[in-house]
Every structure is written in structure tokens, then in C-alpha cells.
Amino acid sequence: MTHDQIEELASLAALGALDGEDLVFWEETKISDPKAGKLQAELNDVAAQLSFLATETKAPDELRKRVMNTVFASDHDRKPGNTPVNPQSHLGWAATAAVAAIAILALVGTAGITADKESVVVADARPNPQDLHIPLRGYGDYAGVRAGVLWDSGQLGWYVQAQGLPSLPATHRYHVWAVSPNNQLQSCGELVTTSTGTARCFVLPANSIDSMKGFAVTVEPIGTTPSQPGTPALLISPQIQS
């Protein structure tokens, strides 16, 4: 990767305009090259300065009281489910995290507000915020697999990724499933392994996925359309916060 390419991706990331394969590639690059992350941080600061092109406007006085009242409401009032929910705000957090930084996210939907996909609740499931990956509940040979879910705010979908998956015989493939709150699995397609050893699947929150608590990966025979999944080999994002 040339220096110019790094600057291109860092600039677009700082402007919040990276999408598709470039977004995934950039996140991987930042993991392997700390200088890339440093450059993006510097350009994030530059891009943020553009906000100062906005006309100076004083925030309304009543807003201060409103913010303080909301933030310092009792714990009970601010617990999830008790706070009045602005459905758009949840996706806002997702986009913020994805655009601002490396975001490996876990997902949990909330029943009742899932007709609009803007209201999908996204929670950061990393046990340590500095970690780049969510640890997997792996089994046997899968214990060393690293995987995560990356929200693409441009395409409004998720990249499910895994590295280190064991090779499969030619007769089988990996398959991704969305795990519903009651542990039912909904098919999200094949987890295709690339030449670099990364397995990746792009998932749009289609109507069939009303809510979920994570993604599962299974091994399925090639040439079949699995309606009943095999035993899940991996379950991504088992540590979900709501």
C-alpha cells in the first residue's frame, strides 16, 4: 500500500465517507499499521475543524436545563427501557462509533420498535474498549478464531468477519446466521473466505431480521439451502449489553 493510498483512505475515513471494501480494508490496515491510525486521528482533528464554518449560534438557554435534567435524572429513570427513547439515537451511536474509530460492535434489537431499522439498538460489546475484537465463544479448533462485526454507516449494514477459521473440505462451507432474542437463527448467507484468510459476509438489516442479539457461524454442506442450521461453530458477540 502506497503512502498516497494511506492518505486517501485516512482522509475519507476522517470525513466519514469510507464505505464498502475500503472501510473494511482501512480498519484492518489500522490494526496492522499504527501510523495509519495516527494519521487518521490527525485528520479527524482537521475534519472536525470544519464544524467551525457553522455560523456562531448560542445554544438556547433552556437546552442547558434540559440536558442537566436528563443526564442527572435518577438511575431508575435512566435505565434502559425507562428512558424515553428517540429511536434515531441508537443508530446515531452506531454511526458515530463506526465513523469516528474502529468499531467492532455487537447488536441487540428491541422488540416493538424494530419496524424502522433506524431504531436497531447497537451496543458496544467489547469487554475492554481498547480491544479491536470481540472474543468468541469458540469450540475446539475454533478457539483461536478472531471475529467481529463492523457497522458500515454508509451502506447501513454489517460486515461479519472472522480470521483463522479452519479450512473446510470442498463439500462444506461456512454460513452466517442472525441470532434472534429467542435464539432462533435466520440465514444471512455464506461466510466467504478470501485469499488473505479473512472470511467476510455483508449483512443488510433486511425485513426478516427484526431484532437480534448476535451472529452465529455454522458449517453447512455445499449445494444446500440450509433452513435448519447445523450446530453453531461460533457465536459472535456473546457479551451483549442492552
Binding site: 465517507a17 469510507l18 485528520l43 472536525a48 467551525f52 456562531e56 439515537s89 446515531g92 465513523v99
Partner: protein, 193 residues
């Protein structure tokens, strides 16, 4: 001198974030005083509606209170963190409103009429604030093509693919313009701020 002042500001803001992470209300109130105007102005620039802008600013401050312990200074200054949240929440809100009210096509049409409106309007203003004026001078030094790409990405929330499609230009061209524009801005601002 300016550099010292900036470093002092950053130190104060880092300290405030650290105190907020320890749930110190006084620090939160001080941060509100420092940031509320620029956050509101930013949200209002995107949303054009007082009520929507207030909602976004409120959401952002709730996130600051809840997520201060997750703030990572290696990924940008505190102000960058909160401005990025404000921008992204504003764009999400616009997109959500558009979907719900089926106005997306209207907005799409509007954005293709004159993609440099936001920046052009901003540049026409005389800013009493020295920092704002320096920024305007820096942005003025960009080519129109670079400004258009930056505006479509930053102020309209378009992705690189969307920008390429809207402008009918190859994706590589859009990437190059974004890079040259932002790197030039960085150079100008590093020199003057």
C-alpha cells in the same frame, strides 16, 4: 503563543473528560459551557430546525456523560470526539427523517443543484473569531472540486461511492480530491493554528 493556548485548552478538556468519567457533575457542567454553542451551531447547520438540533445536542451530552470513560485521546482531541458525534447524529437524523417522510428524492435533488452551497455561504461570512477566519482562509485555498467533495462528505454525509455516482466521476478521482483537499487543509491549519 497560540500553540501554548491550544495546548492549555486541550489539557483542560482532557482533564474535564477524565473528571466526567469519574462522574463529577461540576466537570460536566463546565464542559457543557465550553462546547454547547459549537455543538448546537453544528447540529443546526445540518438540521435547520431548532428542535432537532436541541435533540441531537442533548443526545451527544448524554453520550459524553455515559461514555467519557471510553474516550481514547489517541484517536483525536476531545472536541473532535464530540463534534464527530454531533455530525454523525445529525446525519443519521436527517436520513431517518427522510426515510420516514419519503422525502429522500427531494433531498437528493437538492444536493445535486449546488454541492458547494454550505461552504460557499460559510466563506462569504466575515468572522470576528480569529480561528474561524483562519479556517475560512484555509478552505478558500482549496480548489472548487476539492471543496465540493469535502462538502458532500462532511456536510451532506455522502459516502465516497455516493459522491462518485452523484458527480459522475471515477471513484479514484473522488479519493484523490478528498486526500489533496484534506491534506492541504491540514497543512494550512498546522501552520496557522
Amino acid at each position: 503563543m497560540k500553540e501554548n493556548s491550544q495546548q492549555e485548552d486541550r489539557s483542560i478538556e482532557l482533564e474535564l473528560i477524565a473528571r466526567i468519567a469519574r462522574s463529577e457533575r461540576a466537570a460536566f457542567e463546565e464542559l457543557y459551557t465550553r462546547y454547547s454553542n459549537i455543538l448546537y451551531a453544528t447540529a443546526f447547520k445540518f438540521l435547520k430546525q431548532d428542535a432537532d438540533a436541541q435533540d441531537v445536542v442533548q443526545d451527544v451530552f448524554i453520550q459524553i456523560w455515559d461514555k467519557a470513560k471510553l474516550y481514547d485521546p489517541t484517536k483525536g482531541k476531545p472536541l473532535t470526539w464530540v463534534l464527530t458525534m454531533t455530525r454523525n447524529r445529525s446525519i443519521d437524523r436527517i436520513r431517518a427523517i427522510q426515510r420516514r417522510s419519503r422525502l429522500r428524492n427531494d433531498f437528493e435533488t437538492e444536493t445535486t443543484v449546488d454541492e458547494s452551497t454550505e461552504i460557499r455561504e460559510a466563506l462569504s461570512k466575515v468572522d470576528a473569531n480569529e480561528k474561524g477566519q483562519i479556517l475560512r482562509d484555509a478552505v478558500s485555498s482549496l480548489s472548487l472540486q476539492q471543496r465540493v467533495v469535502i462538502e458532500m462528505a462532511f456536510f451532506r454525509g455522502h459516502t465516497q461511492t455516493e459522491i462518485a455516482e452523484k458527480l459522475g466521476e471515477p471513484l479514484g478521482t473522488i479519493k484523490a480530491r478528498a486526500r489533496r483537499g484534506l491534506m492541504k487543509l491540514k497543512e494550512s491549519l498546522d501552520e496557522q493554528l
